[in-house]
Every structure is written in C-alpha cells, then in structure tokens.
C-alpha cells in the first residue's frame, strides 16, 4: 500500500525525529511541567505521522495519531506529568522506532502495537473526563467526519453530518475520540492525498472540531482546481458570477445579522436558503462541483436551523458564520460588505485563483421568511468562538505549526494559484497579508514535494488539498507568532524540502558521491604537481634558449614572462586545490553530538531503579569527526558508560556517607588534539584501585609476580583491558571495571585509536580515547628496507631501537634479541620480502618493536625515515586478503608505500618458516608481557636508542 521509493527517506527521517523525540522526552522527565517540551514532542510525532500517512504506513500513522491525541490532552492540562505517562511515551517512542526498523529490514510494519495503543487509550480515557466533557463539547463533532467524508466525496453524508453537527448530535460529541479513530481508519485508504490534507484535517479533528468550515474549505480548493481548468472560459461570465456571489453572500450576511437579532428567525433562514439555492444553481451552471457541494451543505445547515427555529428554539447565526467566513475567504477579490463583521475567525487568503469563468446566470434574489436561531445554535456559536480564542494563545507555537504545514502544502500544490492570486481584498482578515507572504516562499518548494508523489493522481492531490484547507483557517489564527518556527518545521515528509528548511541546512548525500569527489580531488592534486613540473621545464627551456640560441632579449623576455605567468597560475591553482581538498575532507565530518546524543537515554535506563542518581554532562559535542568513526565508536562508548554507571558511580546512600554530592556526574568530553579527536569519559565514582588489580592478577596468576611488583599504577590500569583479565570476577566484583574492556580496546584499535585509563581511588575514573579524525588517514612510521619503503601504523609501534647485528641470536631458527632481559623475536623484513639490501657498513640496524593484540615482535629495517600522516588506500581484495599489508599509501613523491599489518606479518613469517612448534611458542610467549603498556603507545612515544657492544 505504501510507496517503496519513499520508504528509505521515511526511515531516515523518522529515525531522526525519534532520536530528537527521545532527547525531548528525557528533558521532559527532568522538567515534567514544561509544556514547551511537550509541544516539541508533539511536533516530532506529528511530523512522523504526516510522513507515515504520506507513505501509506497504517500502523505508524495510526499509532502516532493516538499519541498525538494523548499529547494534546497532556499539553492542555497543567502541572506535573506523571512518570507513568512519560514512561509510556518513551515506550511508545521505542515501539515506533521498532516499527521503523521493521520497515528497514522487512519492508513492512511487523511489530505489534496493540498493547501500547490500549495503554494510550487508557490514559486518554483517564485524562479525558474533562476532555470528554469540555474539549469535545467545545468542538462540535462533525468536522472530523465531514472532512474525511469529503475525502471520500460522499456528498449526501456530508450534508447529513453537518446537519447533525449543527443540531448538536450527542453521539458525535461523546465520541470525538471515536470520530478521530474513524478518521484514522479512513486515512490509509486515502494514501497519497493525506500528507497534504491530513495534518490540518487532523488538527481540526481534535483541536477544534467545532468548525464546519474544514469541510467546506475542503471543497473550495478543489474548486480552485476547476477554475484553473476553465481558465480559458469567458472572462465576462466569470465577472458576472463573482458579482452574483457578492450580492448573495452579502444578503446572507445581512440575514445572519438579522438572525441574531432574533426577530423572525424562520424567515431569515428561508431568505438565506433562497440565496443559497441561487448560489448553488449558479455554481452548478458554472460547473463548480465543489462549490456546489459547499452550498448544498450550507443549505442543509440552514434548513436544519430553520427546523429548530420552527420548533420554537432560539437560533443564532453561529452556524452560518463559518460558511460565510469560508466563502468570503474563498473570493478574496470580492469586497463583501459586512464581511469583516461576520468573520468569526480570521481567514487566510485561500490559495484559490479568483479567476473562475464568468457566469451569465443571474438568478433572482431570494427572500427568506423563516424563523431562525435555536438555543443549540447559539451554543454552537459560542463554542466556536471559544475554540478560536483558545486556539490563538495556546496553539500558537504548535498547533499553528502543524496547521501551517497544511497551509504550506496546500499553497504548494496550488502554487500557480497562489501566484496569480490578487492581494487579499479586505476579506475581514487582518492577518492575511502576513500569512500570505509567509506562504509564498515555501510554497514553491512545497510544490515539488507535493506534486512528486501525487502526480499520477492529480485529482487525488486536489482532494488532499481540499482537506488541507481547513487548516488554513486555524493556522491563520495561530500562525502569526508561529510563522518563523513553522517555516522551519515544515513537513519533513517531503525530502525535497530539506534544502530549503532554514532551520536545518543539512542534506543527505550518498557517501559514494563524496568518495568519488575525493578521488577527483586527488587527481587534481596530481595535476597540480604536474603543472609545477611544467613550470620548471619552462624555466629550463628559457635558460636553454638563453644560452644556446641567438635570440635577442626581447624575444627571450616573452618566454620568461610566460614562464612567470604559468608559475603564478600554478600557485593559484595550488591554493584552490588545497582548499578544495580540505573542504571535501570536511564533508565527511560530523559533529560528535550525533554520537553523544545517544547516551542520555542509556544513562537514564541504567540508573532507573538503582538507587543511583547520575547526571550526564556533555562537552565539546560540536567536535567533528568522520562519520564512519562515529558509527564505530558507538558500541565501545556504550560499554564504557555502562561500566561507569553500573560499577563506577556509587548509590546515593553511599555517596552521602562518603560526603560526595548525591548526584554522580558522568562526563562525556570531546576535543581535538592535532590530528586526533580525544574522547574522555569521566565519572566521579569510586575509582579503580590498582592494588586490587594487582591482587587479582596475582591470584589469577596472570602475570609473573615480579613484573607486577614493578608495574606503575597506570600500567596496572592497562591490565583491565587484557583479554584474560576482563572476565576476572574478582575485579568486576571489587573495582567493577573490566568486563569486556578488551573488546572496547580492540574496537578502538581497529580505528587506529588508543585508550588509556586513569583513576584516583574514590575520586574519579577517566578513560581517554584518542582516535584519528578520519579512517582514511593514519599516522605512520615510514621505514626503508632496501630500496623499498613501508609504513607502519604508529598505533602498533611500541618503540624503536638501534642494534648491532651481533646482538641477534637464533632460537629454533628464529632470530631474536635480548631486550631488557626478555627475548624478543625479530623479523627481518628484507628476508621475508626477498628484498635485496646491503647491510650498513657499521653493522647497525634498526628494530621497530610492534605489538598488536597479543603479539609483540621486532621488525628489522634498514633505516627509519620518519613519522608521517598517510592516506590509506585499499589494495585489490585479492592482494590484500591474507597478506601482510593493510593497504597502501602514496607518498609525496608519488611513490607507493605499503602499509604493514603487523598481525598479518607475523602470520606470514610463521608460514614462511615451516613453522616449528618452538617457534610458535616463542610468539605466544610474548603475549602476557605487560611491559610495554599498550595504553601508552601513541605517536608521541619517545624513541629509545640502545647502543650495545
């Protein structure tokens, strides 16, 4: 039933909104009385609903709809919200997310929502007693039904319903909720038109069902469509038609005033009815079906009114006003006398073109002679007015917003109309011009959005428009203040709008496109150096000409001038290329808030029912880093935060006892440090006791005792990230740290990052994660072996040594050196890679000690070139797979340097040496070496130079 092409957009956008909603919910939890936040949440839900309807997703839209109802009741109330409600809302958010995920995975909404729907309904029921009496009463129940019916184009029913509504049908009032549910049920069937129509229709539903106008409004825009088609009709005819409308409507206005005077209601009604009949027939003549429909409904209402008047009840013009308002608004070109007085609510100029073709019919005027005004009418009118009043202040920010969306959409679809539209004449709406102008700009863009999905169903979209219309009335009331906001909050269902939303300037781009761009920039960089080369060739040529030919100075000068010009152009090119390169790199960067914002919820969930109180502080959330890294940091951080909350921070009682503030603090801090981003996770909990780690390590016989004795506290901390250590019960039990920390470490190392732990017992624990800005660039140590150069990722380099070849001994066919009384296996890169080298005359060589995971090994190289930032480029899969290389990089001179993968290298050496048992043992033996604390490995590690005899 849904449109698959829109699904992906829907998914991403909904996820965003749900994320946003989560943030709001968490804030709401801390500030339960804040209606603003409720409004924000409402907006999220509303947008999701609109989008879901747009795409045709029944469950989500239905669910969202109910939530809206609930939220609506909530925000009308006052005081604190109950935690259960917030819990319910959070659960609902999660369920929505699940539904969205369903879509992503299965392409359909699978998750059940019944239970939550019931809970939501329960709450609505509980909270609604007032709503059931006051709110729905304030709203005559008909509009929802009418509007939906209009969607279905069931005219007779409309009339019925309207009549019922006016006659204050008790059923309808009681069952506003039901009515809405009905509306909800109808929705799916309406599929595409809904996005435009529904938001406003919706709001009409539960906000102010009092006004029939929505229904009629609905008709009018359709009319707009019709007029458009008839544009080539006789202009004169149209003018006559307009004139007729003016006269008749003015009469009706006068009648309704009279009705209020109450002298002879039945007569008034009759006269009104007569006028309406005339209008109806001329509309028919003109072929304006919707207008005809509108008048028919109106007529029904009038007749109903008359019945009541006949029955002796008091009647007011209340039921007429909305019609008048509508019609007045619909023909902004016409100056209706008395309209201003009549208009119950301000109306925005509707987006109909006032160019309907003329009508020569000049039906006679009608004289009513019936009594009018029943008590019920009066009540209705009052309610109407109340509702509008209500609406203006409260809904300004919010309701107005959603309604305004409707307006925008409508305006969008009817864009052409909008443009041709003459400025609103005094239709009694002071707000009109303002609203109008606001609509104009977004309208254009909205057009694309709306027309795209609706293009095959032109008629349908017109219908949708019609439904959107009702929103306009209300929107006008609320939107003045809300305009700015609403523009920003434009329906997000339409991806096309993304770019023009002033509030959000993001756009989604396929990463492949960025990568392609990146490559192009790379080529540009190469071209630039080509140009530089040309410059020097040109200079050479100049020199040569000067020396070898007999050209005179003037001729030579031209050559020289040209060379200079090329040089200039080249340096300009160079600057631009540099900027471009930077710019493209930045495209991939996202603020880390995208990562951090996921955690407030985590902390909340962790803290719940634990007797702890934790405040999450986030700093530096605008720090940017590569999106890929953001994604891959998510899980490690979850782990770390869980540890901090579960084990680090004490319970409120404990903290009190210790004289700490009751509320524990967990800080997430991010900042740049040269080419890296540092993320720190700091908690002010109990800290880690290195002695406990030491004790545990001894107990588990993890590391030789004497080594442990030697280790500094910081090194001991590093132990918690050792694989065997992490699961040690004793540690988790006492200091609480370490579960799965090895996994965290591994993940971070995968990103070429490092992690350090620091802790002061009883004060804080600080984890410091340092990761490169982007995955594409790493710091590497460049080394030479023979004529070839290799890059070793600095994160795996522990130290470098300079040794004498005599120091190398052989154990079981493996070369080793003794380093600080330990045996370190050596790999001669030249031998492994069959590279010819000429040993340096002084028999010295360099050893780069590398470690990864559990292996530690020295690489014998000829020379160290230095540290450099290199761009990693992948090798063809069949080369890289199972090799000693993790990629390659292009050096400044254009040469390729292979990036060593230390793990792969060790594997390779094992393979090459028809591996003996002892040999493999040798490698394994390295594992538990705690000596080089990997946490301290970093690009800034000092290089030790050892000279031995």
């Amino acid at each position: 039933m849904y449109d698959p092409s829109l699904l992906q957009d829907f998914i991403t956008e909904s996820e965003e909104h749900l994320e946003e909603m989560e943030n709001y919910l968490l804030r709401l939890e801390g500030d339960t009385g804040n209606r603003e936040i409720l409004n924000d949440i409402f907006r999220c839900i509303h947008t999701i609903k609109g989008a879901a309807e747009f795409v045709g997703l029944e469950k989500i839209s239905d669910f969202a709809h109910r939530l809206e109802n609930l939220l609506d009741i909530l925000r009308q109330g006052s005081g604190q919200l109950q935690t259960q409600i917030i819990d319910l809302l959070i659960a609902a958010r999660d369920r929505l997310l699940k539904l969205v995920n369903d879509l992503e995975v299965h392409n359909e909404e699978q998750t059940e929502i019944k239970d939550l729907l019931e809970r939501v309904d329960d709450w609505i029921g509980q909270l609604d007693p007032e709503a059931a009496e006051t709110v729905p009463e304030a709203k005559a129940a008909e509009p929802p039904d009418v509007s939906t019916d209009f969607l279905d184009e069931e005219e007779p029913e409309i009339a019925d319903l309207t009549a019922q509504g006016t006659s204050e049908d008790p059923d309808l009032q009681e069952t506003t909720a039901e009515g809405e549910a009905v509306a909800g049920d109808d929705r799916p069937s309406n599929g595409q038109q809904l996005p435009t129509g529904k938001p406003s229709a919706m709001s009409a539903d539960h906000r102010q069902p009092e006004d029939d106008p929505p229904a009629f409004d609905g008709t009018i825009p359709d009319l707009a469509g019709e007029e458009f088609d008839d544009e080539d009709n006789d202009r004169e005819l149209f003018e006559i038609f307009l004139q007729l409308i003016k006269e008749r409507v003015e009469e009706i206005i006068a009648e309704s005033d009279e009705l209020d005077d109450g002298s002879d209601p039945v007569a008034s009604c009759d006269r009104t009815a007569e006028s309406l009949r005339v209008l109806q027939s001329s509309a028919n003549y003109m072929g304006y079906e919707k207008l005809w429909q509108f008048f028919s409904v109106w007529l029904a209402a009038v007749n109903d009114c008359r019945e009541r008047a006949l029955g002796g009840a008091a009647v007011s013009s209340g039921s007429m006003r909305p019609f008048i308002t509508r019609v007045v608004a619909h023909f902004p070109r016409i100056h209706f006398d008395g309209a201003a007085a009549t208009a119950v609510s301000p109306e925005p100029p509707d987006s109909q073109p006032p160019q309907p073709p003329p009508d020569p019919t000049d039906p006679a005027a009608a004289d009513g002679d019936d009594p009018a005004a029943t008590g019920s009418d009066q009540m209705l009118a009052e309610k109407l007015e109340n509702a509008f009043d209500l609406f203006e202040p409260t809904a300004a920010s919010d309701q107005g917003v959603s309604l305004f969306e409707g307006v925008l959409n409508t305006a969008g679809s009817g864009e052409q109309t909008l443009q041709t539209q003459s400025p609103p004449s005094d239709t009694g709406n002071e707000q009109l011009p303002a609203a109008d102008m606001q609509i104009d700009a977004p309208a254009a863009s909205a057009t694309t959005a709306v027309s795209a999905p609706a293009d095959e169903a032109d008629d349908d979209s017109e219908e949708g428009l019609a439904d959107a219309q009702p929103g306009e009335t209300e929107a006008a009331a609320g939107e003045k203040e809300a305009i700015d906001e609403s523009v920003e909050l434009q329906p997000e269902a339409e991806p096309d709008l993304q770019q023009i939303k002033p509030g959000r300037k993001n756009m989604r781009v396929d990463t492949e496109k960025i990568d392609a761009l990146m490559n192009q920039v790379g080529e540009l960089v190469v071209s630039r150096s080509w140009f530089s080369q040309l410059v020097s060739e040109m200079r050479g040529l100049h020199q040569e000409l000067k020396e070898t030919t007999s050209l005179d100075q003037r001729e030579l000068k031209q050559v020289k001038g040209l060379a200079m010009k090329i040089n200039e152009a080249t340096s300009v090119l160079g600057r631009v290329v540099n900027d471009l390169q930077d710019g493209v790199m930045k495209i991939r960067m996202l603020p880390i808030s995208q990562l951090f914002n996921r955690y407030p919820r985590l902390v909340r969930d962790l803290v719940r029912n634990t007797g702890k109180n934790v405040r999450l502080e986030i700093k530096g959330e605008s720090t940017e880093l590569d999106k890929m890294i953001i994604e891959q940091m998510s899980d490690p951080l979850i782990h770390i935060i869980r540890n901090a909350v579960d084990h680090g921070i004490e319970t409120v009682a404990d903290r009190k006892r210790l004289g700490k503030p009751e509320e524990g603090t967990l800080q997430l801090v991010a900042y740049h440090e040269s080419n890296h981003v540092v993320i720190e996770i700091v908690d002010d909990g109990r800290g880690i006791d290195p002695e406990l780690i030491r004790a545990a390590a001894i107990r588990r016989d993890f590391i030789p005792r004497e080594d442990l004795e030697r280790m500094a506290p910081k090194e001991l901390m590093g132990l918690i990230m050792k694989p065997g250590f992490s699961t040690a019960r004793e540690v988790t039990h006492t200091s609480g740290r370490g579960v799965g920390m090895d996994v965290v470490k591994k993940n971070i190392e995968k990103l070429n990052g490092t992690i350090e732990v620091d802790s002061k017992i009883g004060v804080e624990t600080r984890l410091r994660i340092k990761i490169p800005l982007t995955l594409a660039i790493i710091s590497a140590l460049l080394v030479n072996v023979g004529a070839k150069s290799f890059a070793i990722p600095l994160t795996s380099v522990e130290e470098t040594l300079r040794i004498h070849r005599d120091q190398i001994s052989t154990v079981e066919g493996f070369e080793v050196i003794e380093l600080r009384n330990r045996t370190l296996p050596l790999l001669q890169l030249s031998a492994m890679f069959d590279i010819e080298t000429t040993p340096s005359p002084d028999q010295r060589a360099y050893v780069v000690i590398v470690s990864t995971g559990m292996r530690r090994v020295g690489l014998l190289v000829d020379t160290l070139i230095g540290q450099e930032e290199v761009v990693i480029k992948p090798l063809a899969d069949y080369i890289q797979e199972d090799s000693a290389f993790s990629g390659a990089t292009i050096l400044g001179d254009g040469k390729i340097s292979l990036i060593l993968d230390v793990d792969g290298l060790v594997n390779l050496s094992v393979r090459k040496h028809t591996m003996s048992r002892a040999g493999s043992l040798l490698f394994e033996a390295v594992e538990p070496d705690p000596e080089p604390n990997p946490d301290q490995t970093g690009p800034d590690r000092p290089t030790t130079e050892m000279t031995m005899q």
Partner: protein, 169 residues
C-alpha cells in the same frame, strides 16, 4: 548529400555488426580486448611489487592517486614459450566489471574492427599452453589468429585465491 547519407548508414550498420578491439601481443600471440573495457594504455610507470604476492601479480601502480593492481598476463595465463619479457612493457588498464586493473603485455598493436560473425568459439586445442577457459573466442585475421580474452574469468576471485594458496604451499 546522398553519399553522405549512405556513409552514415554504413557507419550505423558497421556499428551494429563490428566489434572494435584493442589488439596486443604477448610473445608471438596476438590477443584482443573490447575497446570499451580499455581505460587507458600506459608505459613507463614505476610498479611497486607486493612481497609475498602470487607471481602473476606484478605489483601496484599509482594511477592518478588510485592504487591499482597490475597483473602479468603472461604469467597469469601461463603462456608458454616465455622468452624474456621485454624491458619496456605496456600496461593495459582495463575496467573489468568495475575493477580497474592493469595488465602487463609485451606490446599494444592497433585497434581492430572485426565483424561479429567472424568470431568463433574457442578451439579445443590449447594455444601456446593457454587454457581455453580464458578465451571468449578466436577470429582469423590477416596475420593469423586473434584470441579474444575473457578478462572477467581471468580476474575470478576464487581462482586467484586458489592460485595464491598453491603458490604458498
């Protein structure tokens, strides 16, 4: 005018029926590859060898910022009669189903236009030790037999992996 039109028609007809191939040599053998696959033809590019890679992988080159593998076609196809490779080989850069790969050949000859109908299925007999699975077809030209290679097959992942393993053991 008429003449012009007829030329155009000829061209169209030709396009429909003719294959355009880039011809190249390995040893004495002449091969062809669809011109649409050929991204460029380069010479004198420093090739960085990959230690421990299968022998037929000559190395990688820096092609305007992209690192692309270079395969020695002679080794890959196991073509017999390996006379010493020429000092200054050509690299035929092909786009094989999105994988840009360089192939080392002895020389590149010319662009050949061959009617589709002239292409025959690969013969059963093995040409110079070249297995027929890499051959898409053959066709007779003035100077002998032109072999159309199936580069997709040549770059087949599984096979390359196996070759890699065999070589290691």
């Amino acid at each position: 005018m008429e003449q012009l039109q007829s030329t155009e028609q000829d061209i169209l007809a030709e396009k429909a029926n003719l294959m355009q191939l880039v011809g190249f040599f390995i040893g004495q053998e002449q091969f062809g590859v669809d011109i649409l696959m050929v991204q460029e033809i380069i010479r004198k590019v420093p090739i960085t060898s990959i230690p421990d890679a299968p022998e037929f992988i000559e190395g990688v080159i820096n092609l305007r910022g992209n690192i692309i593998p270079v395969i020695d076609l002679r080794q890959r196809l196991n073509i017999m009669g390996i006379r010493e490779r020429k000092n200054d080989p050509w690299i035929l850069v092909l786009n094989v189903a999105g994988r840009v790969t360089g192939f080392l050949v002895d020389s590149v000859s010319e662009v050949l236009k061959i009617p589709n109908s002239a292409v025959m299925p690969p013969p059963d007999i093995v040409v110079e030790g070249l297995k027929s699975q890499y051959i898409m077809g053959v066709c007779k030209i003035d100077k002998g037999l032109l072999i159309l290679l199936d580069f997709n097959r040549i770059l087949e992942q599984e096979e390359i992996k196996k070759l890699k393993e065999i070589e290691r053991n």
